[in-house]
Symmetry: D2
Amino acid sequence: MPNSFGHLFRITTWGESHGPSIGVVVDGCPPRLPLTEADIQADLDRRRPGQSDITTPRKESDKVEFLSGLFDGRTTGQPLAMLVRNSDQRPEAYSEMQTAFRPSHADFTYQTKFGIRDHRGGGRSSARETIGRVAGGAIARKILALAGEVEIRAFVTHIHHIAAPSLDHFPTLAEVEANAVRCPHGPTAEKMIEAIKQARSEGDSVGGIIECRVRRLPVGLGEPVFDRLEADLAKAMLSLPATKGFEIGSGFTGTLLKGSQHNDAFIVRDGAVHTATNKSGGVQGGISNGEELVFRVAFKPTATILQNQATVDVQGQPTELHARGRHDPCVVPRAVVIVEAMTALVLLDHWMRHSAQNRTFQF
Amino acid sequence: MPNSFGHLFRITTWGESHGPSIGVVVDGCPPRLPLTEADIQADLDRRRPGQSDITTPRKESDKVEFLSGLFDGRTTGQPLAMLVRNSDQRPEAYSEMQTAFRPSHADFTYQTKFGIRDHRGGGRSSARETIGRVAGGAIARKILALAGEVEIRAFVTHIHHIAAPSLDHFPTLAEVEANAVRCPHGPTAEKMIEAIKQARSEGDSVGGIIECRVRRLPVGLGEPVFDRLEADLAKAMLSLPATKGFEIGSGFTGTLLKGSQHNDAFIVRDGAVHTATNKSGGVQGGISNGEELVFRVAFKPTATILQNQATVDVQGQPTELHARGRHDPCVVPRAVVIVEAMTALVLLDHWMRHSAQNRTFQF
Amino acid sequence: MPNSFGHLFRITTWGESHGPSIGVVVDGCPPRLPLTEADIQADLDRRRPGQSDITTPRKESDKVEFLSGLFDGRTTGQPLAMLVRNSDQRPEAYSEMQTAFRPSHADFTYQTKFGIRDHRGGGRSSARETIGRVAGGAIARKILALAGEVEIRAFVTHIHHIAAPSLDHFPTLAEVEANAVRCPHGPTAEKMIEAIKQARSEGDSVGGIIECRVRRLPVGLGEPVFDRLEADLAKAMLSLPATKGFEIGSGFTGTLLKGSQHNDAFIVRDGAVHTATNKSGGVQGGISNGEELVFRVAFKPTATILQNQATVDVQGQPTELHARGRHDPCVVPRAVVIVEAMTALVLLDHWMRHSAQNRTFQF
Amino acid sequence: MPNSFGHLFRITTWGESHGPSIGVVVDGCPPRLPLTEADIQADLDRRRPGQSDITTPRKESDKVEFLSGLFDGRTTGQPLAMLVRNSDQRPEAYSEMQTAFRPSHADFTYQTKFGIRDHRGGGRSSARETIGRVAGGAIARKILALAGEVEIRAFVTHIHHIAAPSLDHFPTLAEVEANAVRCPHGPTAEKMIEAIKQARSEGDSVGGIIECRVRRLPVGLGEPVFDRLEADLAKAMLSLPATKGFEIGSGFTGTLLKGSQHNDAFIVRDGAVHTATNKSGGVQGGISNGEELVFRVAFKPTATILQNQATVDVQGQPTELHARGRHDPCVVPRAVVIVEAMTALVLLDHWMRHSAQNRTFQF
């Protein structure tokens, strides 16, 4: 179903930008996991609006409330529901959306598909929907950390024309969180912030690229032929609002290499099989090979801009949209934690699938 | 399950490179569709090896046989199984794969994950697996054509460093099939063929990029928030062997634009709502908007090369792999029909889902 | 996943007897359906405890709150979440359950399976879990009524040794609701109520049988070979707490007939194909045949009794359980609306599946 | 999808009575299982027609052929496809079915639902469809036996009015196979065989009841709230042709007991927690409790009889059906192995689910 994600560890999300609440049910969470609201809140705080001067000024505390599934501070194996109430709603700020379709938004397609549309703040198509993903992903991330010290780190590598130099190490959380744009290369981050502020001052917006790396992943995650690890990661990333591309390992530029340059030779390091290079990005034949998982996601510039735009109204007549209200000139920095959450969901689900299929029975 | 794809129109595939057969069950095929083996064979012939002098010389006729689901030349709504027998097997050509892991192949990950591996020709990880996809996709494509004259056309835009100029029209099938490399721009195609032959002569390989376009798609296909149309396309493409990237519409280069440059203004054309540009690539908010669907897929250079490579054997000892045997220096031209097949499967499945959800009841 | 039910119209439920809340997400609800909390509350009120003097005295108002998915009083096609807060919790009344396994309850199996258990009121294994099913089922029932005037009516036919005479007509809601036990035959209902009161006075409990009938169902619902209509109904009913059996049409006693007695001859009535008899119970070959759907569900006597029972404690030592607290001597009357809700969920889901598969395309 | 069954161990079946073949794909089979065609053939031979003088004389050897998924005599974790060719087809014997709907068969519902129907031998609605189930079930049964010495034994307890005495022990396979009717009580079996021969001589048919028992099942299989073990067993059984009822443990007659009589007291036996009685039938709260699993399935008398019957033709006109041809006066004895196969499929799938959810991680 369209609002569920995962097979053995599955989230089902609900909620609109200006409805009463956003929420998520996590089904399949292993029992006995110690869990508190603080485990969830940390990631929600990295996602919420208003956290820095380069994001939307919408004020939401995004406090999570557990609705079920816990006993004595541990999960019970039963569905775990979590709720975040919407508070800073200004539906009057969206009256022009009621009649005119915002270019490159979901207004026209939702109206045509469903014959009805909650126009307030984009309704279900708003990025506020990702709160449920982040809350569910925070649990998955905790399990992965406890089970195998798996670490997931996303960060910004490009904002508009500004590109960070290639990273020579696995960045720490502190490095990523050291600046508002979540680029671990400080000097580049400053330029990115400038670019975002510049776009905002023009009533315009910019996009960018997020890279995500995962280390200490075991060999064996991924289920060919259709549920390859990179296939499920690609689906997870392209299911996020504003994403236009996904690549793993060498990606699109890998097409410029020959096979003899691209192949990752196997070597023995510390008594274990490794690859000398990592063009594969941690996945071979659809299955994790124990190397660092490395992929990138492209985010288009935010569709909401504070400039007049030609468009069409719900009666199909040409009109002009005079945008106003709150405006997030670049969603990329806040998307870092969302990318991590989706990654955690994919990896945990595959871990459980791998275990069920390959470790339940020994013949 | 890992070998099934689709929700309402679902294929389940089986088969290894050197096992007895490759096959597919199609479940959910609408009843009363006229269907003959010729409908399937046309696409299988575009996929099969040995069709030109730039592909692997493996000789397979890849003749399809219907095993069930037809009556009086029409589908019955019951599962439709199709079988292709493997014939040109040379298992002795793969003896070195039995003990050594081929770099950037699935040998190591399959062996580690499953604890067993059919090493002959890569077993299930061979691209022969895609026969089932192409057979199932041929049915989906026929239904889409009958239902809405939907046309799906993939073609090669890049081989190694050679890039075709941007296409100013929706290419005909004849244009794509006019040359062995399936690039509709003749002069570029010639250079691409040269590059592939050059790689083959070096015992090396090259990769490339396929673009896929779809026209006459209705508005409304795609199921947010997780089953967005582009998310399911991304999954479909990254589930193919040798793919490393996916992008839709403006893709990665779209991150270099500002919102005011990237947004697709709505206009009225021929009495219907359209967009003036198509940076969105035919999808907004995860739902088709009636414009041409445009996406690209990156294929890495084939991992099989006829050069000596450093690697590790199944006992974990360093060794050198002396490759020999048949060798496909570039899989991209043959992958064109596979990309089309997966696209057809995604689109038909979404068409049926859209219909079930939004057209069954009128309130 | 274990807490989701349905393919195209799917509910996902959460909540424990003594947790903060019980809730449900409905995914796949067709858009534009007019819906208010009153549509849900009516069925919840038929389910809630304390509605008569033969049910548990637990006091719960079970007021439903919409959390998402509505706009201007209509569904939007987006997930619809509903919440009921638990209020009358007396966790102290369950202290003995913490250490001793109640016979024929889920205490032992939950503890062994999950390694942890919310013992308060049975936690997730409590029948309070069915609130989410009833809330989701109320929406399905409304859609079925609007779409085809489909009517679903369940009622009690047996309580302990007391059996109602076979019903010669499709009972009205008023007939069923005319007494506390929900048996449409008044004189029998009185005896049933007496039997329940007698059991309660003994600190004992009784079970019974519910029959469910559905009329005006179209021909064609059911998806062989595995998703036959009766198979999904059987699963739905056996997924309810305390159920031990399901039969459709002639059921177990049909095994006493010969084929010549059991076969339902086809006849023409009012210009349409019907059957002269209905031993099939409205389903042939796994597909609804347009006749009345008739099935029965067996409910065991409630496991909770106010008598001392031999049992084992969590350390695996023999002990005796001294039950006390609130006690529902017979769950069957309250289960009537739960059976209807599950029936509605199965039928609507199959309606949508039938439509997607067989009505989307005409060849 | 309607022709797939299972979540982690999944079969997808295809094939019609008079099409080219019947087959099955098994997806999710754990790797490294030793497997030969003999493992499958043994169960297929117990299912096939013509094995005794009380079944249909249709001659089918039902030889199974592996199409994929094996290497060196072991499963590889890849999809395992199996094929059985149809041979004894007499389509001319079914000409009258082409125009007239056989009473209590699937002819009318298939024709109406799909708008097309393979009338030869019932097409997909024929019990030949169960070959795929038996083949897949044979693998599941082997895994269960290897993993936990789990034993599944079904047998006939009722044929028409003839009831076997209650069994005081877990019957051996030899006891069940000692006679053609598969009732382990010899004197009763003789009467049953007489009853079946009598029905055949009258051109009539009889039904009956199969009981299935499973021993050495671990505690913990079953996934509340919807995927309770008994719910999935009920679905599995009601998905079989000709079934009309399912009950577990005390079943329908359990409604005649009071709670104090029905509850299964917990005791300690051989140092482990057991129940003194087994009214629960091996399942509590939807989860196996380690006791013997005991359930029963009702099969109606075969709809095919060799007597004239009133019916309606495909134009909706009254007509009379003059049946002729081969005729199975009682399907119950052959259904024994099919019940076992479906049971094995349900149990193995739940074993793998339980393992994934509860044993992958220890906190």
